[in-house]
């Protein structure tokens, strides 16, 4: 179980959008990640913290291979890397079963493997015969349950979680939190993005703090969370002070 699942080495990621008054031939560039070096070790749970727009979601997408880095190197030894929330690819007029099979295949299962796990998905999601109805008849909570159950049943080598520990109604949420937590605590490899320090402290061994697309700090959960919390408090105080004195601080308010 030793070794890394994903290694980022000086990774940069650039977004650019065209601009110009009449014919848009120039482009505005923005580096969402700058020189990020990071090893995601096999079996570990890595937390990611940082303010809005600091590159957390972009980091997950680079790890998953959804985005390709524009600088540096990414090495993956893990084969199947997937997000825990899987609803985006769902087709509304298709039954829950078909959507679950398609979802499983998108997470790297073969068609047969995906079909074999339908029972497991039915059991965990508690959707029962509803699973055979078209997806557009599902409530938002039921849809989320299906997405979550599908992703869990697909058991990817690396599970990416972007702030998702509250899905469905209270009983299902409790069960979900329990299952997700036990998956995270098991020897699965997990990357968890969250604004909730308590959640991260409870579930993650190591934490990365991103700021402006750069790794501000990486290390043991307690040390990084403490440093991050301190900077958040300082930033908030600065904003409050400037708003009291009447000086706008648009940078700190922007998200």
């Amino acid at each position: 179980m030793s070794g890394f699942a994903v290694r980022l080495d000086g990774v940069g990621l650039r977004y650019s959008r065209p601009t110009g008054r009449f014919i848009r031939t120039r482009s505005i560039e923005h580096w969402a990640l700058k020189d990020v070096s990071l090893d995601l070790m096999r079996g570990e749970s890595l937390g990611v913290v940082g303010g809005n727009g600091t590159g957390k979601s972009t980091l997950l997408k680079v790890i998953a291979g959804i985005l390709r880095q524009d600088g540096g190197r990414v090495v993956r030894t893990a084969k199947r890397i997937g997000f825990l929330s899987l609803q985006a690819g769902f087709i509304p007029h298709l039954s829950g079963v078909d959507n679950a099979v398609l979802g499983g295949m998108l997470l790297g299962l073969s068609a047969r493997e995906a079909r074999e796990r339908v029972d497991e998905i039915a059991a965990f999601s508690e959707l029962g015969s509803k699973l055979y109805d078209p997806l557009f008849t599902y409530s938002a909570g039921m849809r989320a349950r299906l997405g979550l159950s599908t992703a869990l049943a697909a058991r990817p080598d690396v599970l990416l979680i972007d702030e998702l520990l509250a899905v469905g109604d209270a009983p299902f949420r409790a069960k979900c939190a329990g299952t997700v937590k036990s998956v995270i605590r098991s020897d699965a490899t997990v990357v968890l993005v969250s604004h909730n320090h308590e959640t991260i402290r409870e579930l993650c061994d190591r934490v990365v703090w991103l700021d402006g697309g750069r790794v501000q700090m990486v290390g043991g959960a307690d040390a990084v969370l403490q440093a991050h919390a301190k900077s958040v408090v300082e930033k908030r105080d600065r904003v409050m002070r400037s708003s009291v004195t009447g000086e706008g601080n648009s940078e700190a308010c922007g998200s």
């Binding site: 977004y15 998953a64 959804i66 985005l67 997937g82 929330s85 985006a88 690819g89 398609l102």
Partner: protein, 263 residues
């Protein structure tokens, strides 16, 4: 990151083919769930489409000769296959934005699925067209020659669809050009007139259009049972293969950039 290759390990290709196939099945199934007449639309819509042209061109413009109905139907059925394959293929990756944003899947599966959906719908209508032609009194003895014609057309439009699917997300302007090019091609491809009726001086230009050549090849086989122009078919087929390779390469080369532009 390693440079993309066309030769991926077989398991990767099988996985992608499976996803494309399932997506095609899912799209077809979902389509039937959206309307009251459901799957009947796969036949009703082409029939509606073809009746309009029959009435306008065959009756109002009185262009119809004796065998105008089979002549027009072959042209329209073949054209529809080309049209749906290319148009749905071109927007396939853009339309799958939910998946593109959330899963690192091979993007070739989206145009591939669109091509399969178009092929399936075409096959239905084409079979009915063949039955109609039999009833009309045409002999099927030379129809085995259809296989290469169909294969060449598939290669050609698959190549075009793959290239467009890979390019449209990065250059959305292409979509507007495509819409107008399709409108122009409809009039330029000899759907409701024969290539032989084009003034001789323009014929070389007329046959430079692969769709015009393909429609004529279908007519030659279906309506006269004789051999179509082999040289033209060979060139179109080879061109199609090159475009398929180029299109797959573009999509693989840009695979990590689609999520930046498909939003």
């Amino acid at each position: 990151m390693s440079s993309p290759t066309i030769l991926e390990p077989p398991s990767v290709l099988t996985r992608a083919a499976e996803i494309a196939l399932f997506r095609a099945y899912a799209e077809l199934k979902a389509e039937g769930q959206k309307t009251y007449l459901s799957y009947a639309w796969w036949l009703l819509e082409p029939v509606l489409h073809m009746s309009i042209y029959y009435v306008v061109i065959g009756k109002f413009l009185a262009r119809g000769t004796e065998d105008f109905v089979p002549f027009l139907l072959v042209g329209l059925v073949v054209w529809r296959w080309f049209n749906t394959s290319v148009v749905s293929g071109a927007s396939a990756i853009t339309a799958a934005k939910g998946i593109v944003q959330n899963v690192g899947v091979d993007k070739t599966v989206f145009p591939a699925a669109a091509l399969m959906v178009a092929l399936f719908k075409f096959a239905l209508v084409f079979l009915i067209l063949c039955v109609f032609l039999l009833g009309y009194g045409y002999s099927p003895s030379g129809w085995y020659l259809l296989l290469p014609v169909l294969a060449v057309q598939f290669l050609f439009q698959a190549g075009l669809a793959l290239i467009l699917a890979g390019a449209v997300p990065f250059l959305p302007d292409i979509k507007i050009v495509l819409e107008n090019a399709i409108k122009a091609l409809f009039f330029l491809s000899g759907i409701f007139y024969a290539g032989s009726s084009v003034p001789e001086a323009y014929q070389p230009y007329f046959y430079m259009n692969p769709i015009a050549s393909l429609i004529e090849a279908h007519r030659t086989v279906l309506l006269t049972g004789s051999l179509p122009h082999v040289g033209r078919l060979a060139i179109i087929g080879a061109f199609g293969l090159v475009m398929i390779l180029a299109g797959s390469w573009i999509i693989r080369y840009k695979r990590g950039d689609f999520a930046k532009v498909v939003v």
